[in-house]
Amino acid sequence: MKPRTVSFTQRGFDFETFMWFFTRVSALVMYALALTGLVGALIMGARTQMNLADLMRWVFTPNVTHVQNTNVPDLAPWTTSFWKLVASAFVFFATSHGLHGLLSVIEDYLTLPWLRRTLRILVLLLTLFMIFVGVYLIWTS
């Protein structure tokens, strides 16, 4: 039997559906990033030089500030642009993932259209601001 399919143009694009899909994918991407941080840290010697709390801090935000107070003797491998990119990606995906969750709460529990619109804009601005501050700190620390 020939499979029935509907093309992308026929289905149409909707921002809400895109965000719904993005939220699912961003969660998976965050798992992949955390795994990258964990494996990377273990390769760089975390098994003997870090305790679990420091390791977890690094896994979820691979920033050198989480390594400075550990027993790691050489910080050079932990400060490369690659880890800054991973940390920036984490900030972007985590914040935009949370943004969609917050928007869902606003849509479900606020019935006043003007309040809903105002809060949507506020949340969007807040998200952009948080991503900017987060990425700025990662690249300048």
Partner: protein, 233 residues
């Protein structure tokens, strides 16, 4: 046994705000809640208003909140809900009187997904044949009786009655996955709109509320997958 029935009462022509009235009546454990409501209306308070029609779980008229859960009064036995029973109208729709709500927004949303068969090919001499496997693809969603138990148990629908709601999605699913139908793309476009499936947060209230035991959240999940992949079978 004696049953205490606490019923939501509201007559917008007389009452400033809704209230609850309590009735005590004799019942057996196999009595249905609908039987109790009939007894109250027939013997204790003729002003009580509620919808009912077939009284056998097919017409879907008597959906109401029984002990906090959306159910059909004609399918709910006393033994399932105990001797202290609270009956209220379903949520998210305007109360017209007592347990009767305005179903217009619900049916407006239902109509939006074009819940009818569309095939522009000339009809064959006999019926349009379909394999048992192809029929099985949407078997579950053919069971919907439009009682609104699912839609009115959904928090997204409580937030906005413009949200199409589970019942509309169930009926969209019934035709989108029917391989004899030719309007799947149009329907997918409709459920892909701002107030469409993306507003479903997988709360599962609809599945729990459905008196026909349709796997509604699963059906909505299949619609979401069809929107992402474009694959229908």
């Amino acid at each position: 046994m004696e049953v205490t029935l606490k019923i939501f009462r509201y007559n917008p022509e007389k009452d400033k705000k809704p209230s609850y009235k309590t009735y005590k009546l004799e019942a057996v454990e196999t009595d249905r809640v609908l039987d109790l409501l009939e007894k109250v209306k027939g013997y204790q308070d003729g002003t009580l208003s509620f919808r009912r029609s077939c009284a056998h779980g097919i017409c879907g008229s008597d959906a109401m909140r029984i002990n906090g859960m959306n159910r059909l009064a004609c399918k709910t036995l006393v033994r399932d809900v105990g001797t202290r029973i609270t009956v209220e109208p379903i949520l998210g729709l305007r109360v017209i009187k007592d347990l009767i709500v305005d179903m217009e927004p619900f049916f407006d949303n239902y109509k939006k997904v074009m819940p009818w068969f569309i095939n522009n090919d000339p009809p064959p001499e006999k019926e349009r044949l379909q394999s048992p496997e192809a029929r099985l693809r949407f078997d579950d969603t053919t069971k919907c009786i439009l009682c609104a138990c699912c839609t009115t148990s959904c928090p997204s629908f409580w937030g906005s009655d413009e949200y199409l709601g589970p019942a509309a999605f169930v009926n969209a699913h019934r035709f989108i996955f029917d391989d004899r139908d030719q309007a799947a793309a149009e329907r997918l476009k409709i459920v892909n709109e701002v107030m469409g499936v993306s507003r479903c947060h997988t709360v599962f209230n609809c599945t729990l509320a459905c008196p026909r035991e349709i796997q509604i959240t699963k059906a909505i999940g299949e619609l979401k997958m069809a929107l992402v992949t474009g694959v229908l079978s």
